[in-house]
């Protein structure tokens, strides 16, 4: 049996009260089942990334059309194949990086993780004034954390930023 595909939706643009209500109402009217999503504001821009199941991409695009009509919101809809939630393959770590903003910080430090086979599962970056901050949760292949930490320290030294790599707290209540 062919697994049912899902829709990947992004809504980005000028923030105002009611965007989430408007978008989710349009989806509900179509019978689209909103599953996982994450919304935040990035430098004041409203940003929402959603995965939902149900109708076709064309139907959702048509339903979101009026919301984007004034050009202040951008909505995209794509059909994506179903994904199976990957089992945790490594050891969860948290990487913090902060320092003076410059080009290429994220590229350099995340390349170190990638070269070790580390998989980033959550990430936030913020620029406030001259300060650049990156916090990433990464699953590292077992036994690699020490070497990754050393390599990160070298790369961070070259960029003149601070980096810490710590095991993520996994204890739950």
């Amino acid at each position: 049996m062919k697994a049912r595909s899902e829709l990947a939706i992004t809504v980005i643009g000028h923030d105002r009260p009611g965007i989430v209500a408007d978008v989710s109402e349009a989806l509900a009217r179509l019978g689209a089942n909103l599953t996982d999503s994450t919304m935040t504001r990035l430098r004041g821009h409203f940003t929402w990334t959603l995965v939902c199941g149900g109708p076709s991409a064309a139907e959702v695009e048509a339903a979101l059309g009026p919301l984007a009509a004034d050009g202040r919101l951008l909505a995209t809809v794509r059909e994506v194949g179903p994904e199976v939630e990957a089992a945790v393959a490594g050891e969860p770590y948290l990487m913090s990086v902060h320092g003076a903003d410059r080009l290429g910080i994220v590229a350099a430090v995340t390349r170190v993780l990638a070269e070790a086979g580390g998989n980033i599962t959550d990430l936030t970056t913020r620029l406030t004034g001259p300060l650049y901050v990156l916090v990433a949760e990464v699953d590292l292949p077992p036994g690699t954390a020490e070497a990754v930490g050393k390599r990160l320290a070298e790369v961070a030294g070259g960029l003149e930023v601070e980096v810490t790599l710590r095991p993520t707290e996994t204890d739950v209540l």
Binding site: L94, H98, T124, G129, L131, V135, A136, T168
Partner: protein
Amino acid sequence: MSDPFAGWTPEALGDPGEVLPVVTAPHGVLSQPGPEVDPSDPKVARLAADLLATMRVSPGCVGLAAPQVGVSAQVFVVDVSGHPKAATVHGAFALCNAKVVEASRWRPGREGCMSVPDLTGDVKRAARVVVEAALPGTGAPVRLTTDAFEARALQHEIDHCAGLLFLDRVAGAHAIHQRKVYL
């Protein structure tokens, strides 16, 4: 409760202190581990007085460490008096070469920092700590047991002295936040 400061008050520094400018990240001094100091050095007492004076004029400030005024050294001040999240309160005090020797009851909480003015972060800290340190001026040893907000403030300041910011300790990728309220 017994007074771990044995009657010491900031007046013992004999100096009203001077308000110093506070440095902000990404200033290098904030990421440099501070050396231990000689607590009986008059310069250290003067630094403690300056930190107290600077903390007092800074709205909402409950602690300030030497690196935050550009001095790499293990000296800081704390005063959580009147804070709604405080339980045990020792008033305004200054410590040198402080070390956490016991820590328990880890709790998450949101922290801000004068040196990271636009962000806050969720950080897990011990809600009960025992700290050993020396008093600036006399150099007398202190063993301080505290809890709740005062314990958090102490750990935040001791981190500053070790060249660490709350950004190095946030609990997850989504645990840093744009500051919404400025005091």
